[in-house]
Symmetry: C2
Subunit: 379 residues, 2 copies
């Protein structure tokens, strides 16, 4: 199922290959986020052209709209959205704890009111796995308790205990044909809790392991710490997924720390505000200095947007609210993320990952604006 | 420049070919509207795939944002928007009279305040032609006075006189290399005014003639009447353009009345509200009855949307405000308009236009909702 092809001799970066029911994925991989069954503003052709191997869907959102019955009637999520390639579905745990209102945490799940119409709903390990089975995703995620960054130690411990108990329940549920299930490790930035949670979840023998409870509002140093505290307890022979991360520079640092899979709404989210990622950091395409700049967003970039349009034109489109503007910045940003992963894979294969990492990080100037946007993003 | 290839023996429908600086256009032709330099929600590849031969740009909108200087610096509108195919630009007359605030009509143009920021601007024959020269469009339109549908006879006459005088001034202005200039005939539904205006404008020897002052809030019968009152006075050897029209059924009726060129915001405008055109009329893709309908919007349709997505999926996308939803309905609607013109051309070539017209109109059920939306559309 997962083949570990190579590990960098000087850091923990890994080259791998994950085989799923709908195709094989080269890792490290970035997974564009299609929360509601569409990667925002992009179509499947554009996703394939930029090298997308796998996309995300979301149990919470899809079960509210359009509802599982419709997707089941369509023949599953792949059919419904016309994406015959791998799909990973998040279990809805994160959304229940971050979006839903008036939660009541019970033994076997969470009672909550829909963020949409206030109707009373229940989601727990059994329900989340049942929905993901109906969606027919290639990789299903366990239903976890993802506490906020600011949680008291007692609440963090309770969340870990609940996450472990629910993971066990998820593990017992039937799955779709060929569906992989990943466990999720919680524990915040607490070393003992991370170790305890990782050991318990790994003991349940999932097909892969995710590090959750990151990207929930904490500083970058804490994100790295949570990953470093968890990774040593994850089996080398299985894929590791850092949920909801991150900026391009963070992806490089996290690959170096042994992570294989990533998802993040940043590339499409900031695109809709006119912010583009480049190898040197972010740039506001809407800014006045682009008024008569007839270069592409990033020189040398092979994405559809950079091959066809100038900064001046895209700035104009964004300023007059033409949809093509945010479409093209979404194309560029998503392409940059996917190309970055491709570059990391190529350098891992060639044994030059260390040099690539140094050079990339030397050139990339992180933007505080984007870093703080990330924390408040609705997933 | 214009070749009249064939005229239907039983009606006034014509098959033709218009040669411009950026390519040849087969007529009858529908021109997707790119008011602000982008056909709303679509990219140039999608436009080409659906058979777009020529698109529209707008003098008023483009001169306000991004401003002529930027487009001039880009090397013209074709370069700026990356559309190396024919472009027709409207003169801004319609917008000055319909969108701008606090108009003061003067001898050589109109003083008005920008609908955007209230700044004081002036647009007349000289300015409109100068801007269109800078834009470098293949077909420039004369600057006319387009009075509202409800105008008193005295105001209608004044508008016709002004339109004639301004057309003469437009005719004297220098043009971009290879640029064609079309005159516009006004006169509402008044037979004498239409004849007088047409004779005067035709006497100035433009490269083609537009019928303006239609699609300004009047009933369909009045639109047809205005066309019928004008067409006999237009030279057969030159292209005729009915501005701002219409529904699919109206396009068929207007081709039968001797019109060669059309533009209309309807296909993209109603798409953004989730309304799709079909050969049988319009349908609300968002409607509940599409919930589990896994057919394409229109069976047998070869557009990108119908080849890839179901009604159920598009309904979901529209309901959760995913951009891909309105993108795909825009693709479908624009494709239908272009395909309809292609079908009319093929039937004209085969000598079967009469039968095609009868069958199309027998199947097409016009929607009052769409007909009334048309009149209030911002162009």
């Amino acid at each position: 199922m997962f083949e570990l092809l190579k590990t960098d001799p000087r850091c923990k970066a890994r080259l791998g290959r994950l085989t799923t029911a709908h195709g094989t994925i080269d890792t490290p991989v970035f997974m564009p986020v299609g929360t509601q069954g569409s990667v925002k503003a992009l179509d499947p052709r554009e996703l394939l052209e930029m090298g997308t191997q796998i996309i995300l869907g979301n149990t919470y959102h899809l079960s509210i709209r359009p509802g599982v019955d419709i997707i089941r009637a369509a023949g599953g999520l792949h059919q419904f959205i016309n994406w015959p390639h791998p799909i990973l579905t998040d279990s809805g745990g994160f959304q229940v704890f971050s979006l839903a209102k008036i939660r009541k945490i019970k033994a076997h799940g969470v009672e909550f009111r829909s963020h949409l119409d206030g109707s009373l709903l229940f989601l727990g390990p059994k329900e989340a796995m049942e929905i993901q089975r109906a969606l027919g995703s290639d990789v299903a995620m366990a239903f976890d308790d993802c506490p906020p960054h600011s949680s008291a130690p007692r609440d963090l411990r309770a969340a870990v205990e609940r996450t472990i108990r629910w993971a066990g329940e998820c593990r017992q549920q039937p799955r779709a044909h060929g569906q992989l299930v990943f466990g999720i490790v919680q524990g915040g930035a607490n070393a003992a809790l991370r170790e305890e949670c990782a050991r318990a979840i790994v003991g349940m023998e999932f097909d892969g392991y995710a590090i959750g409870g990151v990207s929930v509002g904490e500083a970058e140093a804490e994100i790295f710490k949570a990953i470093e505290l968890t990774e040593p307890f994850l089996p080398a022979q299985l894929p590791r997924y850092a949920m909801g991360l991150g900026t391009p520079a963070q992806l490089v640092e996290l690959v170096a720390r042994g992570v294989d899979m990533f998802d993040c709404v940043l590339p499409t989210r900031v695109a809709r505000n006119g912010t583009a990622f480049t190898k040197r950091g972010t740039v506001s395409v809407k800014a006045g200095f682009n008024k008569e700049d007839f270069r592409p967003i990033e020189e040398g970039c092979a994405c559809f947007a950079c091959r066809n349009f100038t900064r001046a034109y895209l700035r104009h489109l964004l300023n007059v609210n033409e949809i093509l503007g945010l479409r093209m910045v979404s194309v560029h940003n998503s392409h940059l993320y996917l190309k970055l992963m491709e570059d990391m894979r190529a350098n891992l294969a060639r044994g030059t990952f260390g040099a690539f990492r140094r050079e990339f990080l030397a050139n990339y100037v992180p933007s505080q604006k984007v870093l703080s946007a990330r924390a408040t993003v609705e997933r």
